[in-house]
Amino acid sequence: MIELRNISLRADEKILLDRVNLSCEPGTVTALVGPNGAGKSTLLSVIAGDVRPDQGEVVLQDRNIGKFSVRDLAQIRAVFPQGSGIRFGYHVHEVVSMGRAFRDLPTNQDAAAIEAAMMQSEVAHMAWRNAQTLSGGEQARTTFARVLVQECPVVLLDEPTAALDLRHQEKVLESAVDLARGGATVLAVLHDLNLAAAHADRIVLMCNGAIAATGTPWEVLTQEQVGRVYRQDVCVMPHPLRECPVVLTC
């Protein structure tokens, strides 16, 4: 469970986050959307414990985030960061296994968990390749597998689909939905409104460091609201096969 109470953060004079209140329930996928510079990634790093807010309280699993040690925090939340490289030539299997390095789970389950995660993000066939030689998308899938093996109740994804092709965008978000069905609280920053609409239970629309709207995809992604926040005319129509809206620019 994630609960944010009145979070504010400034850098110099600029307000990055402005009194954000949000709560995400276990078993749900929440998509965080909004234009560039709206504060999505900043909010995610506050929840991840990377950045301490100037004001307000972050509560993960009923406990204030300040009360966790770095190692405790790694037991309850996994983070898919924006842009991840690796500095030495570790192979993919080693990178994925790093997700378990300081996880207090029985080590005899590690091998099976790593194998399953690599299968799910379709990197198993390149398990022994040097992770430095991967393409951007392959790297992102390796990182996603690493997030999966951490098996945390709170999963934070910062643009997990940015580098991925169509198939893997769907696969990664389906995995995120599976995690939620298994009881995890999933929060994902997404740029593609249609991916958000198709997979998220709830969408949080941010604008200028504050939450502009929250609700189901149909409630948030209205022509008027998207047009106003993104300053771009759009039309919204039902997806021909899925029961979700589709946003098209016009």
Partner: protein, 360 residues
């Protein structure tokens, strides 16, 4: 024809792990290490057979009376050569493991105690102790001076080069290294200017590095910190691995990065001090050895640290052997030997790094 299904099948299988040659490489290195160790004891002005070396080594542990020849051999082996060989191992192992740890900490394969300036900082501490005739801690003054100066320099370099964050590249670290080496060099130069003729001789020896003053006393002083440093690095090996993902992601996975950083700075300075405080600056060991073993056995620190220790010991034993057998009974400074090997190696690393288009 490839159907979508067959693509999915090939994607879904984990290929068998490629053959792991670590054991083979380990055995070969161990054999070479043992042979070179015996060779460093056998070769010298009094030349010994391997059999004589072994019997002389063993003679200390038996009460059997010795004939005159064996007694001489025992004296040569135990009083002259063994302490020197053990010193070579301590120096090499300390510098190589220190290099491996610094490269992990800075996330940069070019981080070497010599290149980024930790060695020159530690040397400066030792030179200051010699010239200013500080003797606060008795025989421990020199290593403690080197250690404190090493810690200070590492913190300075780390603070300025700020590795592990987005947007920093390796040139920053090397630039800081150039500046720190220049400052260390000029302060050392000034102290050299102040030094007496007698001090001057020991300073020159210091700047170029030599194992000729190796004694059981200096072995006794440096072996403890060296072993302690290496054991600690082994304990932190997994955290060093995670640091390769960058500070932020290492933190997400449970590594307290600021704490680890402080611990690593102290331990790398400890290892450098153990290596340089009595033997002067010997460059490039920390660069060459971990780099070669990363290519051979991979970057994982649980293997890299012990392999670097053995490889570093081996390299310095060999270099010292060359240093004292090229022009006997004179000795070429070992720093000169290492520099002439390490300089071209460094250029080769930059060259291959450029060929891969990754800068370094």
């Amino acid at each position: 024809m490839t159907t979508p299904n067959s693509i999915a099948n090939t994607l879904g299988t984990t290929p068998h792990r490629p053959r792991d040659h670590t054991r083979l490489i380990g055995s070969v290195i161990a054999i070479v290490f043992g042979t070179v160790f015996l060779a460093t004891i056998a070769i010298g002005p009094v030349s010994l057979q391997f059999g004589q070396v072994l019997s002389a080594l063993g003679a200390r542990f038996s009460d059997a009376p010795l004939d005159a020849d064996t007694a001489l051999n025992v004296a040569v082996v135990w009083d002259l050569r063994l302490a020197r060989s053990v010193t070579a191992i301590i120096v090499g192992a300390s510098l190589a493991t220190c290099g491996a740890a610094m490269q992990g900490l800075f996330g940069n394969p070019l981080a070497d105690p010599g290149i980024v300036g930790v060695s020159s900082g530690a040397s400066l501490g030792a030179i200051a102790v010699i010239v200013l005739q500080v003797s606060t801690f008795g025989i421990w003054t020199l290593p403690i001076g080197a250690f404190l100066a090493g810690v200070g320099t590492t913190f300075l370099i780390y603070g300025l080069a700020r590795p592990g964050r987005e947007g920093t590249d390796s040139s920053q670290l090397l630039l800081v290294g150039i500046a720190v080496n220049a400052i260390g060099g000029s302060v050392a130069g000034y102290l050299t200017y102040l030094a007496t003729a007698e001090q001057l001789q020991s300073l020159t020896f210091w700047a170029m590095g030599s194992l000729s003053t190796a004694k059981w006393l200096t072995v006794g002083i440096t072996i403890g910190p060296a072993i302690a440093g290496m054991v600690l690095l082994m304990i932190w090996a997994r955290q060093l691995d995670l640091l390769a993902l960058g500070e932020r992601q290492a933190r997400h996975l449970g590594v307290d990065v600021p704490k680890l950083r402080r611990k690593l700075i102290f331990v790398t300075a400890l290892l450098v001090a153990a290596a340089v405080s009595f033997n002067g600056t010997i460059g490039f060991v920390g660069l060459v050895v971990p780099h070669i073993f990363r290519l051979l056995i991979g970057p994982g620190h649980r293997r890299l640290i012990p392999f670097s220790a053995i490889g570093g010991g081996l390299l310095v034993m060999l270099a010292d052997l060359v240093a004292r057998s090229m022009d006997p009974p004179n000795e070429i400074p070992i720093g000169v030997i290492m520099g002439s090997l390490g300089g071209p190696f460094f250029l080769w690393m930059i060259w291959t790094g450029r060929a891969q288009g990754k800068g370094t």
